[in-house]
Structures are given as structure tokens and as C-alpha cells.
């Protein structure tokens, strides 16, 4: 009450030239207001610590691969990749390689046994490439039945190198989409779908041979 009186007295004295009932002062004038003033923008995001952190880490991965390029061979393989992430969203794949255990497929085997013919395609032994990887997305998946959330990233890769065949070493490479899911702190589960291509000589002519290759495996974050 005392403050109110003193404040009133001051207001009367200080605003002697003002009108009898001065309008309330806008907050733009004094920076303050008797009413609530909203200043902060609406919240637009939620934030979460990245569970699957890769920056400054090496990731070594291994997995089962299968290359299908219409060359009358079945090309299962064992892949080994070694990547280093200087940035969270970019990796250098020092090595992205696959050892193929190629066999003539059933049709080619039958032709060989019947007519003694062999396909002019070369039999892949190994893929040895290097390149880069751009992680363009980070996501998470809820496994409802398990109540588990899986953090993963999606990346586009591009590799260039060589395809070692039963006849020679050919220039080759691949580009594809990969998903890596984090498991605990250091492990990843890995799925890669890429399109592999190589130049090789068939029937005396240079040919671009290509086909999809899928890989599923696990990795370790170092």
C-alpha cells in the first residue's frame, strides 16, 4: 500500500504535464510491460544426442555379398570394407572389397555339359575398390513388437577400383545405397545395395558389364 501511494505521488509529480489519465506506455517505449510479452519463437524441433556417432572413427565391416550381372555365373562373396569418417556425414572408404566364390550357374553348367560351351564372360575372383560415402540421412526405426528403437543412417557410396577375374584385372567400380544401423556403442549392422560395373573383353570386344550387388553384414566402430 505504501508503495502504491508513493508510486502514485511520484506519478502525479513526474507527469504533471500529462493528461488526467495517460494511456499505458507501450513496451516498445520502455522495454517493459505489465502484460505478458511473448518473445521466443515457437518450438519447431526436438533434439536428441546422436546415438550412432561416426565422426573421427574408423568403421570396419564384413558381410555376405552377392553379385548378379548376367554373366552365367553365380557370384556369392565375402566383403570387407574399411572406412574413416572425417565428418559425421562423409567417409573415405579406404578399402571396399569382395572375394567372390563364383560358379557357373545351372544353365551354363548344362550347356557346358551338353555342348562343351563356356560363356565368354570372365569369372570374377575379387573386387578391390576405394572411394567415398556420403551419409545423407539419419533416422530411427521403432520395432514395435520389441519396443526397440534402431538408429541408422543412409549413405550413398561411390567406389572405383578393379575387378580381378580368371583372365585378367579389369577396371571397375560401383555406386549404391547403404544403410548402417547402430548396435550398442561400437557395432553396426550393414546393408548395401549397389550397382557394380566393369569393363571386360568378351569375344574380342570390350564390353561394359554391370549388375546389382547386395551385401549384408556387421561392422565394428573403432
Amino acid at each position: 500500500m505504501r508503495t502504491a501511494l508513493a508510486g502514485f505521488a511520484l506519478a502525479v509529480a513526474f507527469a504533471s504535464s500529462a493528461e488526467a489519465a495517460p494511456p499505458p506506455v507501450a513496451w516498445e517505449v520502455t522495454g517493459t510491460s505489465s502484460a505478458a510479452v511473448r518473445v521466443e519463437p515457437e518450438t519447431e524441433y526436438r533434439v536428441e544426442r546422436r546415438f550412432f556417432e561416426k565422426q573421427d572413427h574408423f568403421v570396419v565391416k564384413t558381410g555376405f555379398s552377392y553379385l548378379s550381372r548376367g554373366d552365367f555365373y553365380d557370384n556369392p562373396g565375402l566383403s570387407i570394407d574399411l572406412s574413416w569418417y572425417p565428418l559425421e556425414f562423409f567417409a573415405i572408404d579406404f578399402v571396399s572389397s569382395t572375394i567372390f566364390f563364383s560358379q557357373l550357374n545351372a544353365t551354363a553348367t548344362e550347356l557346358r555339359e551338353t555342348f562343351g560351351l563356356l560363356p565368354d564372360s570372365q569369372k570374377p575372383y575379387a573386387r578391390i575398390t576405394g572411394g567415398g560415402r556420403f551419409a545423407f540421412a539419419y533416422g530411427k526405426v521403432l520395432i514395435e513388437e520389441l519396443g526397440a528403437i534402431v538408429h541408422l543412417d543412409a549413405s550413398l557410396g561411390l567406389h572405383v577400383g578393379a575387378l580381378v577375374t580368371d583372365r585378367t584385372v579389369n577396371l571397375g567400380g560401383d555406386t549404391g545405397l547403404a544403410f548402417q544401423a547402430a548396435v550398442f556403442d561400437r557395432f553396426v549392422v550393414w546393408f548395401d545395395f549397389s550397382w557394380f560395373f566393369s569393363f571386360e573383353e568378351r569375344s574380342g570386344q570390350g564390353t561394359l558389364a554391370s549388375g546389382p550387388m547386395g551385401t549384408v553384414g556387421v561392422g565394428l566402430k573403432l
Binding site: T43, V47, A148, I149
Partner: protein, 630 residues
């Protein structure tokens, strides 16, 4: 596939505690983060608590939110009515600072305060989360995922680079808004008065000081006695840098209430305060002695005590204090001490010696007047020597003093002194006759007139006639000199004017007085022979003088009518005329101008909590300001 399933089963980061962004929820950490300059965490906590249904418009989070707005120069709303102490008071202080900040950026006021630290390119506070690739931002969706927390953004800082940068245009708008801001600031300060008891000493004293400074600056504003007591209690517990200034302002405010005892007590408190500055001491002494002087009866011994204890009065105050001392000595009848003061004073080259009348100013001029009055109590020779001793520079000023004193002596019927002073003046004038020419002659005529007046008082008709004759002769001598030509006419006219009334009374009781009228009549007649500027004036007197001269109206060369001889001198009646008996009174006390003393700038009113739960005075950003800037 097995591996994938295994991985899926195992990979379940649950909630904020595993891999989530850490946001403190305890108050201590929140305060610590804020003091480190982190506003983002505060905002997150605010949003999180609000989302959880907690009130965030009161308590610690609200206080820190107010600070967050203040440091970003953003507007701040009201304090809810149900806000509890001490947050209520602390938040009101922030609002006061917010108004001061607005004054800083628009009016260039409060430039020396810590608020200036908030301006400029230097950002003291983190208003956005650091660009951290370790965190992921998810758009707001309906789904709530564990481990995610709201990531509110903060409004951009709105602090300009320099004080005054946001001054309104046009100027008229700025002036009007500036007035509104000043009033708003004062109202905020007044609003805090009721909280003085809850504030830390330093903060409370700053509020009291500001309130008093505001109150003093508004003409006619009176602080009631009860509020003065509240303020005084706060001032008493103020630190040294605030207390003397606040006491002085309190006394000034009390002056408006005209409570003499309180005013004297408050000014004495200033003078007893060891932390007072010499300027504050000087100002308090001036105010105090003026109050003591005007007491009924004046408290002269106390005036002397206060004045004589002054060590280094300000140049503007010193004449006032000297005048007060002189007045006190005069009032106490301490003639010798007053003369000593006068002798000391005339040696002061910075105040007196060489100064002209205009340079002395009203207080020293009145002091000079008092010193001059002392001559009335001395014999003529000593009086003239004394006047020479205290003379101020410039012939005119000294001459004026001599003539004023001579007139005073005449009024006191100290004719010897009056004659001595006028004769001294005449001698000086005649000395300069050659140098000043007709001007000196004119002055001489005036002085002869005054001398004649004295002879009238002394009833010495021969001497009177002699001086009047001298004037008539001077009229003949000077008639060729334009400046002095009519000076004798003027002197005779003035003398006649001055004496006409008295003659009217005196001739009834003393027929000898008719001779004075006759002498004046004769002079009037002689001076109106030739046309002059004063001819009409002098002619107007002649009829009256003729009547007053009675039998002597025939002139001195003829024999007076017999009736004149028959009438003897009647017994003198006591003088009835009021105002003729002069007692040297103390001149009225002059109003001393109050020269303000600096009011210490209030660096900040703020107080903030510490992580330990204590409260600290000052701005919470003090530790964030780079040393170079500070």
C-alpha cells in the same frame, strides 16, 4: 538376417539418459549454466517444465528467463501477483534495469553502468545451441520418441552496437518518449521502496539514492515524514560510496517539508560522515548555515561553528560561507572578529583583492556592506582608514560605499562622521577635477548638496547658506561646460525636494528654519533667471519656499520683516518622524543557490542467485565480460 535381428533387439537407446542430450533439471546446475552464459539450457528447461505442467512464470526459472530477456535487450512482461519473495523483488529490479537499458540505447543515459556491457558485437551469452554434429534435430511430430527433448530456439538478440543507437526519429517523438521512459524509471524505483527491507544493503541503498535523486529533481515533490524515515533507515546502512550523497539528498528532500530540526539534524549527519567528499561537505555547510541563520532567533554561534569547520569549500560556496560568518559576527556584535575577518578577506587575491563590484557577487558584496557598516561605530579618522582598508577595486565602487556610509551616518545623526566622509569624497573629486573635468564638477555639485543637507540637520544656517551659495557660484562657473552646466541646478532641486517636507514641519516649531527656506528660495530665484532644464522644476518650488521663508522671503540683502524678529525660538518638540532614527540592521539573508554535488552513478541494481542458493549483488554477466572491455 540373424545378425540384423540381434542388432535390432539389442539396439535400444532408451530415454535421455542413454545417448540423449543432457539437460539439467536441478536448479543448481541450471543457475551454474546460466552464469556461464548458457541461455539455451535455460530455455530448454523452461519448455520442458512447461510441457510437464509446471509453472514457469514464477520462481527461479522465471527469474532466469527475465535475465535471459534483459541480456538480449528483449521486452519483459509483468510479474505475476502470486510471485514469492525473494524472486518478486529480484524480478522487479530486472525490470528497472530493463527500463534503464532502454534509456541507454535510446537516450544515451546510464552509459557508465554495467548495462553497456550488453551492447556491441561482443556476445556474452550463448543464444543458440552450438553447431554440434553429435546431436540430431527432429521436426516436431505427434509421436514422442524416448531420448528426444524439445529443442526450443531463442529469439535473436536485439542489442544495438552503441548507446543511443535506437534513438527515435523525429526529435519530437524522441523527446516525448524520453519523458515517458524517465517517468517509467522513476515509477519502477518508487515501486521498489516497499521492498527496501528485503534487499541487500548495497542494492537497497542504490534504490534509496535513486529515489531521493529523482525526488529532489522534481520541483515541488514532497516526500512524507514516514517515507523519509524509511529512506533514512536504508541510507544509514548504505556503503561509504553511497551514504553521504544519499544523506545529502535526504536533507534536501527534507528541506521541502520545512522541518527545521530534521533538516539541521540531517545536514549535521552529512558533516559527521567520514566518507563525505569535500564537495558534499561544502554543500552541506552552505545549506545548514542558511537554515541556522533563518531560525528564530538566528543560531549565530552554530553558524560560526559550522562555517569555521569548513576545510575546502567549493569556489561557489565559499562566498556564502564567508557571508554567513560575517553575518554571524555582526549579529553577535563581534566587531573585532568581524574586522579581522575583513582584513583576512581583503588579502584573498582569489576572492577580493583586485575584484570589481560585479566580480564579487551578491554574497561578498553584502559582506562588504557589513564590513562597511562597522565604520559607523568608529571615529571619523579610523572609519576612513577602515574603509580604505576594505576598499574593493574600482573608484566607483569605493566612492559608492563612502557615500552610502556617509548617508547612513547622517541618518544616524553621526554628523561628524558624515561630514568627514563627504569631505573626503569632495577632496577626492576635486583631486580628479583636472582629469575628469566637468564630470568631477558635476559630482562635486551633488556632494555639496549633500553637505548642505547635513548642515540643515545640524541647524547651522551659515554653513548651509555657504554650501548653497557655492552651488549657485558653481552654476555660473560651469555654465559653459555642457556636462556640468546643470549639475548645481540639479543639486539645488534635489536639496529643495528633500527638505521641503521637513521644512514644512520644522518652521512651525522653529522660526529660525525659515532662514533655510529663504536661502533655498534665493538660490532657486537665481538659478531660474537663465533658461535651463531645471528651470520649471525650480520654479515650482518657489511658491512653497516663499511661504516657508515667511518674513525672510525678502532675501538676505534686505531687512527681514519685523514679524520675524518678534518670534522667538519655540521650545523644540521631540522628533516624531518615523524612519529618521536609523539603527544599523543586518541586511536580509540572501538565498544561497544550491550547487548540486555529483550523485554516484548506480552501476547496477541487480541481484542474482548463485548455484549454492545464496543471493549476490551485481550483474550476473560480470564474469563473462572480457577484461579488456571492462
Amino acid at each position: 538376417m540373424i545378425a540384423l535381428l540381434f542388432a535390432l533387439a539389442a539396439a535400444s537407446p532408451s530415454g535421455a539418459s542413454v545417448g540423449g542430450v543432457s539437460t539439467p533439471t536441478d536448479d543448481a546446475t541450471l543457475v551454474a549454466r546460466f552464469l556461464e552464459g548458457d541461455l539455451v539450457t535455460l530455455r530448454r528447461v523452461q519448455v520442458l517444465r512447461a510441457a510437464a505442467g509446471e509453472r514457469v512464470d514464477v520462481g527461479l526459472v522465471a527469474l532466469l528467463d527475465d535475465y535471459s530477456r534483459l541480456v538480449r535487450c528483449l521486452p519483459i512482461g509483468g510479474v505475476p501477483d502470486d510471485e514469492q519473495e525473494p524472486f518478486r523483488t529480484a524480478r522487479k529490479l530486472i525490470r528497472l534495469e530493463r527500463v534503464r537499458l532502454e534509456r541507454l540505447v535510446r537516450d544515451r543515459a546510464h552509459r557508465g553502468t554495467v548495462l553497456a556491457d550488453l551492447l556491441g558485437a561482443q556476445r556474452l551469452y550463448q543464444t543458440a545451441a552450438p553447431d554440434d554434429r553429435r546431436v540430431v534435430y527432429w521436426p516436431i511430430e505427434e509421436e514422442r520418441w524416448p531420448g528426444e527433448i524439445l529443442a526450443p530456439t531463442l529469439a535473436n538478440r536485439d542489442c544495438p552496437s552503441r548507446p543511443g543507437a535506437k534513438k527515435e526519429r523525429p526529435e519530437a517523438t524522441h523527446r516525448e518518449r524520453r519523458r515517458l521512459r524517465i517517468n517509467a524509471e522513476r515509477a519502477r524505483v518508487a515501486d521498489l521502496l516497499d521492498h527496501l527491507g528485503q534487499l541487500p544493503d548495497r542494492t537497497a541503498s542504490r534504490v534509496a539514492l535513486t529515489y531521493l535523486a529523482d525526488a529532489e529533481s522534481v520541483a515541488g515533490f514532497v516526500v512524507t515524514a514516514s517515507w523519509r524515515r524509511v529512506l533514512e533507515a536504508t541510507v544509514e546502512r548504505s556503503p561509504d560510496d553511497v551514504r553521504p550523497a544519499a544523506r545529502l539528498l535526504l536533507a534536501r528532500v527534507a528541506e521541502r517539508a520545512n522541518d527545521d530540526d530534521e533538516i539541521v539534524r540531517l545536514y549535521r549527519a552529512v558533516l559527521a560522515d567520514a566518507a563525505r567528499s569535500s564537495a558534499q561537505d561544502s554543500r552541506a555547510r552552505v545549506r545548514l548555515v542558511k537554515r541556522l541563520e533563518r531560525a528564530e532567533p538566528p543560531r549565530w554561534p552554530e553558524v560560526l561553528e559550522v562555517v569555521r569547520a569548513a576545510k575546502a569549500p567549493r569556489a561557489a560556496d565559499e562566498p556564502v560561507l564567508i557571508n554567513a560568518e560575517a553575518r554571524a559576527l555582526y549579529g553577535l556584535g563581534e566587531t573585532e572578529q568581524l574586522m579581522t575577518l575583513g582584513r583576512r578577506l581583503v588579502q584573498r587575491s582569489d576572492l577580493w583583492r583586485g575584484a570589481s563590484e560585479g566580480q564579487l557577487g551578491p554574497f561578498l558584496m553584502q559582506t562588504n556592506e557589513l564590513l562597511t557598516l562597522l565604520a559607523l561605530d568608529l571615529d571619523p579618522a579610523r572609519a576612513i582608514a577602515w574603509l580604505d582598508e576594505i576598499a574593493i577595486a574600482g573608484d566607483e565602487a569605493r566612492a559608492t560605499r563612502l557615500e552610502e556610509l556617509a548617508e547612513l551616518a547622517r541618518e544616524r545623526q553621526d554628523f561628524d562622521l558624515a561630514v568627514a566622509l563627504y569631505d573626503r569624497r569632495r577632496a577626492e573629486v576635486l583631486e580628479g577635477l583636472e582629469r575628469r573635468g566637468p564630470r568631477a564638477a558635476a559630482k562635486d555639485a551633488e556632494l555639496i548638496g549633500r553637505r548642505a543637507f547635513i548642515e540643515y540637520d545640524r541647524e547651522d544656517i551659515e554653513a548651509f547658506a555657504g554650501f548653497v551659495d557655492t552651488l549657485v557660484a558653481l552654476a555660473t562657473t560651469e555654465q559653459g561646460r555642457p556636462i556640468a552646466r546643470y549639475a548645481p541646478h540639479k543639486a539645488i532641486a534635489r536639496l529643495t525636494q528633500d527638505l521641503l517636507g521637513r521644512l514644512t514641519d520644522d518652521v512651525k516649531d522653529d522660526p529660525e528654519r525659515e532662514k533655510f527656506a529663504a536661502v533655498l528660495l534665493e538660490a532657486n530665484a537665481l538659478l531660474t533667471v537663465q533658461p535651463s532644464r531645471y528651470r520649471r522644476v525650480l520654479e515650482r518650488f518657489q511658491l512653497d519656499l516663499e511661504r516657508l521663508a515667511g518674513a525672510y522671503a525678502v532675501g538676505r540683502t534686505k531687512t527681514a520683516k519685523p514679524s520675524a524678529k518678534k518670534r522667538g525660538r519655540a521650545a523644540k518638540k521631540p522628533v516624531k518622524q518615523l524612519g529618521q532614527v536609523v539603527v544599523s540592521r543586518l541586511p536580509p539573508s540572501l538565498e544561497a543557490p544550491d550547487h548540486a554535488t555529483p550523485v554516484p552513478a548506480v552501476a547496477t541494481f541487480l541481484m542474482y542467485p548463485t548455484p549454492e542458493g545464496a543471493w549476490r549483488e551485481g550483474a550476473p554477466w560480470a564474469s563473462l565480460v572480457p577484461k579488456k572491455k571492462r
